[in-house]
Symmetry: C2
Subunit: 339 residues, 2 copies
DNA sequence: AACGCTAATCTAAACGTTTCGATCATGTCA
DNA sequence: TGACATGATCGAAACGTTTAGATTAGCGTT
């Protein structure tokens, strides 16, 4: 900018005024400056600008796994929204690890991101402290967090799973296996509540041996399914509260020599692009990923636009049960249906 | 830092020296400073540091679509690698659009990223200019670019498709449909060359009506497949050079009332997590995503570590044909196999 | 002709670091 | 005891912007 100013024989203030349109500059000087900018190939240094202005037009986004199709889609939508608004997005994947997450959030705050969208992991205390210290707007994505009272957009997980399990019950299933991630994050907790609520509402007992915990990965779903299917009194249906784990479930079913839906029905949380292409077509709970991503982006953009002290807004979206052919009717119902 | 210095009754220079370990500071002052840092809750401002140092410890990564499973995986690997090295990653999705890409690269360079990993789109000229101007190391990912002579890691696409098509030919297929993206990017060009080479090597004619161009999206695959299958002399196998498009292919096959592999064999480029779970299990060309991501990251990290004027390094990795059950033997071969 | 008003431009401080060279105390050696 | 090397600390400039406030020029009023 100094060089431009010299070449155009004006002060840097005038150059800045022209570039930012913060003051009127005469046509004559404007032209000289623009010429100089072109000659020199000047590009404004956004770092210096950020230092002076205290804003980076960059946000941080952390998710557990970008390979989880739900997060893949949401990240994609969020990235687009911020791109449109002229913001850059720094992406971090926490791998469901608390320390990693803390480090990454520190990394992002160090770099003075203007805002943060977080699909958090683990206990909220540290997140809360980090977020309170840095005075940066945060929106929680997918997972709320006790004690962290910020904007959030989440699914009505309990209701969504309630509907799915009720659907299975109505098909005649009585012993329904349930595979979940560790319940220290809200969606897993709420989904489990939906499972219990549905069984309870139908007057069915809750068999604790049918509830298995995993760590969100395919292998965990595989192991959990193997255990359930090897038992003397195996379930007739399995619901997986997490999408990557259902791959393990399907592989376990195959490896143990059973088939879906003939021998066992399967449904899971989170839809994915291939769900209605191959056999069996998995019945899933689809989240409105487009809406979730856009809402999260909008909440943050609104804060960034200056609306700082509005009370925290919590958005609760509805899931949708995508009924396909991976769950079959059982018993009396099966009779009447096939009749 | 000023506040810390005041609280500890030292100069900012000493605080800086202690924090960065750039000079020895006495135990006494060290303690005072550390105490002050704790009391105040001081955090170094990375923006100011970047301005002074001329480095941001941030890199830019642009891909066409993060929802393409190949890029999802590669992005994930790259993000992890840079996270380990203490770098932040700014992610952009170009949506296969040239202008978007140019804007995004400018956005990234504005923010003074230290390096760039680009799965480019469109013509190389603009990319080249942009990259030459900013003096920033670039590694090309997945797609090389005539005239842009930088580090690159790509697949041996021609060989990979040659192998896949040859496999189909060996199964007895003679009319093999080929669905591709626009061939102005190197992988599409090279894959097509592999297709032609395989047919040629087998002494088969190349039927231009069996080659269809799309824009990388599911709908394009759908339309292309519909056209091919409605023709009087439809192919017995279809190869899709792009993963999202094969979803469209499968849906078109279903909608037209045919089934795979009984009526038509299908194979495609890029493996995906569900490929061996559902029926039909798609035969695919798997890219070594882990290696690709790591190599790209390593090439860039090496440049960032100071190895600036080594000659450009081009890494050519091998694909692997994952044979599953979506392609069936035809004619005489089918006889002998089923016999 | 002196005055004030407006519009255009400039000067200089500030943002929060890093770092070069200067300063100062301390101990060592001739 | 004086000269000097050594080690610790500091002052101040620099990175490239933005911006408040000062300055200047031009013009119409009285």
């Amino acid at each position: 900018m100094l060089h431009v100013a010299e070449a155009a024989r004006v002060s840097v203030a005038t150059v800045s005024a022209l570039i930012n349109g913060t003051a009127t500059v005469s046509p004559e000087l404007s032209q000289r400056i623009e010429q100089a900018i072109r000659d020199i190939g000047y590009k404004r240094n956004a770092i210096a600008r950020s230092l002076k202005m205290g804003t980076t037009r960059t946000i941080g986004l952390t998710v557990p796994h970008i390979t989880n199709p739900f997060f893949t889609d949401v990240v994609s939508v969020i990235q687009q929204a911020f791109d449109r608004a002229g913001y850059a997005v720094m992406l971090c994947c926490t791998d469901e690890d608390l320390n990693t997450q803390d480090d990454q959030i520190k990394l992002l705050l160090d770099r003075m991101v203007d805002g943060l969208i977080v699909a958090r992991v683990g206990d909220g205390a540290i997140l809360k402290r980090i977020v309170d210290d840095a005075n940066v707007p945060v929106v929680l994505l997918d997972r709320i967090c006790k004690g962290v009272d910020t904007d959030a957009v989440v699914l009505d997980n309990q209701r969504a799973v309630f509907d799915a399990i009720t659907y299975l019950i109505n098909l005649g299933h009585r012993r329904i296996g349930y595979i979940t991630g560790t319940s220290d994050i809200s969606p897993m907790h709420d989904r489990m509540a939906g499972y219990r609520e549905a069984l309870h509402a139908a007057g069915l007992p809750i068999a604790e041996e049918l509830i298995r915990f995993g760590n969100f990965h395919e292998i965990d779903g595989y192991n959990a399914t193997m255990q359930m299917l090897s038992s003397h009194d195996r379930p007739s249906a399995i619901f997986s509260a997490n999408n990557p784990m259902v791959i393990g479930t399907m592989k376990a079913i195959r490896d143990i020599g059973l088939s879906c839906p003939e021998d066992i029905s399967v449904a899971c949380f989170d839809d994915f692009p291939w769900s209605d292409v191959f056999q069996p077509q998995l019945t899933t709970v689809a989240q409105p990923v487009q809406a979730i991503g856009e809402q999260a982006a909008n909440l943050l953009l609104d804060r960034l636009a200056g609306n700082r002290d509005a009370p925290p807004r919590k958005l609760l979206l509805k899931g949708r049960l995508m009924i396909r052919n991976s769950c079959r009717p059982l018993g009396a119902i099966a009779q009447s249906v096939s009749a």
